[in-house]
C-alpha cells in the first residue's frame, strides 16, 4: 500500500506503476458526464484551484442534507469510459494528477497521462458503502443544478483505497487484459 497526500506532484505520480495499490488522503472532486462536458465547453475558472495537482472521481453519489450540511451516504465509482472524449483535455487544462473511476479508459486518456503526468486509479465498483467510509467531510458542492449525481462534490477523504490500472508510462492493465482475453475469445470462436 502506498499512501499519497493530495494535492500531489508530477514526481510522485511518475513513481506509480500499474498494479500499485494506493491510499489517498486529501481533497478529491467528483465529476461525471454533465460535469465533464461543462469543463470542456465552458472552461470554468473557479475549478482551477481545486483541481490542479488533485484528483477527479467519476462518481454520482447518494447524498443527504441534514440542516445546512451535506453528507455522503454511498459513493462508489461510475464507468469511466464515457468521459473518454473529454478526459485528455481536462487533464491538460486543469493539471489533474489522477482520475478515479472504474472500467478503465482509452488510448487518448492514456496518452494524456503519459504526456502531462497523471494516473488512472481504479476503485472497486459497487462498493459504495465501503468507499463512503473513507470520506470524512463534504467541503463544497458546485453546479447542483445538474442534479445530485451529476454535481461537483468537493470531498475530504482519508485513506481512500484504489489501484493504479493506467500509469504515466503508457501502461494500461485494461489494455493488457483486453488483449489477452481477445486471444482466448478467438480460440473459442473458431
Amino acid at each position: 500500500m502506498i499512501s499519497i497526500k493530495l494535492p500531489t506532484d508530477e514526481a510522485t505520480v511518475r513513481s506509480l506503476h500499474i498494479g500499485d495499490e494506493v491510499l489517498l488522503t486529501g481533497v478529491i472532486v467528483t465529476a461525471r458526464d454533465a460535469a465533464h462536458k461543462y469543463m470542456v465547453t465552458e472552461k470554468p475558472k473557479d475549478l482551477d484551484p481545486i483541481l490542479r495537482n488533485n484528483v477527479i472521481y467519476h462518481c454520482g453519489p447518494i447524498v443527504k442534507k441534514v440542516g445546512e450540511k451535506w453528507y455522503m451516504v454511498c459513493a462508489g465509482p461510475t464507468t469511466s469510459i464515457r468521459e473518454e472524449p473529454f478526459e485528455a483535455e481536462v487533464i491538460e487544462m486543469y493539471g489533474v494528477r489522477g482520475i478515479i473511476g472504474k472500467g478503465g479508459m482509452g488510448p487518448k486518456t492514456l496518452a494524456a497521462c503519459k504526456e502531462f503526468g497523471a494516473v488512472y486509479l481504479h476503485a472497486t465498483g459497487g462498493c459504495a458503502a465501503e468507499l463512503a467510509c473513507a470520506m470524512t467531510e463534504v467541503l463544497d458542492v458546485k453546479k447542483l443544478e445538474f442534479g445530485t449525481p451529476e454535481a461537483f462534490w468537493v470531498i475530504q477523504v482519508k485513506d481512500f483505497p484504489c489501484t493504479v490500472t493506467m500509469d504515466s508510462h503508457g501502461q494500461s492493465l485494461h489494455a493488457i487484459v483486453e488483449e489477452e482475453s481477445k486471444k482466448v475469445l478467438e480460440s473459442l470462436l473458431k
Binding site: 454520482g60 447518494i62 472500467g103 472497486t124 458503502a129 467531510e137 487484459v177
Partner: protein
C-alpha cells in the same frame, strides 16, 4: 467498523423497524369470486412492506450471489488485484447490510414483475409503488435516477416517464407476488442485441450462434459492467420483448435448472467458457468473469432471430415478496 462521521450521521437507523408498523389483513385471501373484489389489496397498508422490500433489495445481496462472490474470492491468487477486489466487495456488502446502506450508489432502474390474483384492482397498487419509491428516495435508499433526456433535468424522486418499470401478470393463485430488481446503469450500457446471422462473428441461427454472441458480448464488456456479472439472455422474441425477457431472467437463482435442457446445457457451457476469458473481477484479470448465465426464449418471427443480452452487475439486487392475507414473506 466504519469510522466515517458521514456514515453515522447520514444513516437512517429507524429503517430496520419498517415492518414494526405493518400488520393486519392486506386483503381477504378467502375470496371466492374475483368479481366480489375480495382480492383487492389495501394499498395504503401495502406501502409498509413495499418500503421494506426496497430497503432489503437496496441494502443486502441475495445469498446465492454473495456465496458466489465468496467462491470467487477463494479462487483468486493471494496478493492479486482480483483477490483484493473480491475482498472489498464482500466487506462492503457486510457493511451495507449492517448499516442499512445502499450496496451501490447507482440504485438503478426499478423493475417490477407483479403476479396478482386475477380480477384485482391494479391502479391503487401502482400508486402505492410510486408513493414508496418517493419515500425510499427521500430516505436515501434510492438515488434520484430519473433524468429527462431532453432537458437533462433529474426529477429528483425516481418518478418519470417509464420509471418505474412495471409489469403485471394475472394468475389463478390467491396470493400477490412482488418481484423487484434494481438494475444498475453502468451494466445496462454493456447489454446488446444481436441479430442473426452475424457474418462478422460467424454466428448462424442456432444455439451455437447464440453462444458466439454471448461470448463476444462478455468480452466487449470487459470490467465495465462491474464484473463478475450475471449474463441474462433471451433467444428470439422481438426487439422490445427480447430485452424485457432477458432482464426477467435476472430473477432466477444462480443454481436453478433451466426448464429447457438445451438452454440448460448452453448456460453451463457459456459459464465455463466465459470464465476462461480471464477478465476477472472489475476487469483486473482473474478466474471469475461471470457469476452465472441465464437464458430464456420467446417465439420469434420467421424473419427475425434476435439474441438479447442484459449484463447484470455483481451487485445483483433482486428480491421477492409474497403477500397472502396477513402473511408477508421476503425471499431472494
Amino acid at each position: 467498523m466504519c469510522q466515517s462521521p458521514l456514515i453515522r450521521f447520514a444513516h437512517r437507523s429507524p429503517n430496520t423497524n419498517i415492518m414494526a408498523s405493518a400488520g393486519g389483513k392486506y386483503y381477504n385471501p378467502e375470496f371466492q369470486n374475483p368479481d366480489d373484489r375480495g382480492c383487492n389489496v389495501d394499498a395504503k397498508k401495502l406501502e409498509v412492506p413495499l418500503l421494506e422490500l426496497i430497503r432489503r433489495t437496496s441494502t443486502d445481496l441475495p445469498s446465492d450471489i454473495e456465496d458466489a462472490l465468496k467462491a470467487g474470492f477463494r479462487r483468486e491468487k493471494a496478493g492479486s488485484p482480483a483477490k483484493t477486489a473480491f475482498q472489498t466487495m464482500l466487506s462492503s456488502v457486510e457493511l451495507s447490510r449492517r448499516e442499512s446502506l445502499p450496496l451501490c450508489q447507482d440504485t438503478g432502474a426499478l423493475v417490477w414483475h407483479i403476479h396478482y390474483p386475477d380480477g384485482s384492482e391494479l391502479l391503487p397498487v401502482e400508486k402505492a409503488i410510486r408513493n414508496v419509491i418517493v419515500k425510499a428516495t427521500d430516505s436515501s435508499l434510492l438515488r434520484p435516477n430519473a433524468v429527462d433526456p431532453i432537458s437533462g433535468k433529474n426529477s429528483g424522486n425516481n418518478l418519470g416517464e417509464g420509471s418505474p418499470i412495471l409489469y403485471f401478470h394475472p394468475w389463478k393463485k390467491k396470493t400477490w407476488e412482488f418481484n423487484f430488481l434494481m438494475k444498475g446503469g453502468g451494466s445496462e450500457n454493456c447489454g446488446a442485441q444481436y441479430k442473426l446471422p452475424d457474418s462478422a462473428l460467424g454466428a448462424g441461427r442456432d444455439l451455437d450462434g447464440v453462444y458466439k454472441c454471448v461470448l463476444d458480448n462478455v468480452w466487449r464488456a470487459q470490467g465495465k459492467g462491474c464484473a463478475p456479472g450475471v449474463i441474462l439472455v433471451c433467444v428470439g422474441g422481438n426487439r422490445d420483448t427480447g430485452m424485457a425477457e432477458a432482464k426477467r431472467q435476472g430473477f432466477r437463482k444462480l443454481d436453478d435448472t433451466n426448464p429447457d435442457p438445451d438452454l440448460g446445457k448452453l448456460e453451463k457451457r457459456l459459464m465455463e467458457d466465459c470464465n476462461k476469458l480471464g477478465i476477472g473481477p472489475m476487469g483486473y484479470g482473474g478466474k471469475t468473469t461471470v457469476l452465472g448465465v441465464k437464458i430464456g426464449k420467446l417465439h420469434r418471427l420467421p424473419a427475425c432471430y434476435f439474441v438479447s443480452i442484459s449484463y447484470l452487475c455483481w451487485s445483483a439486487r433482486r428480491r421477492q415478496m409474497t403477500i397472502s392475507g396477513e402473511k408477508v414473506k421476503f425471499s431472494g
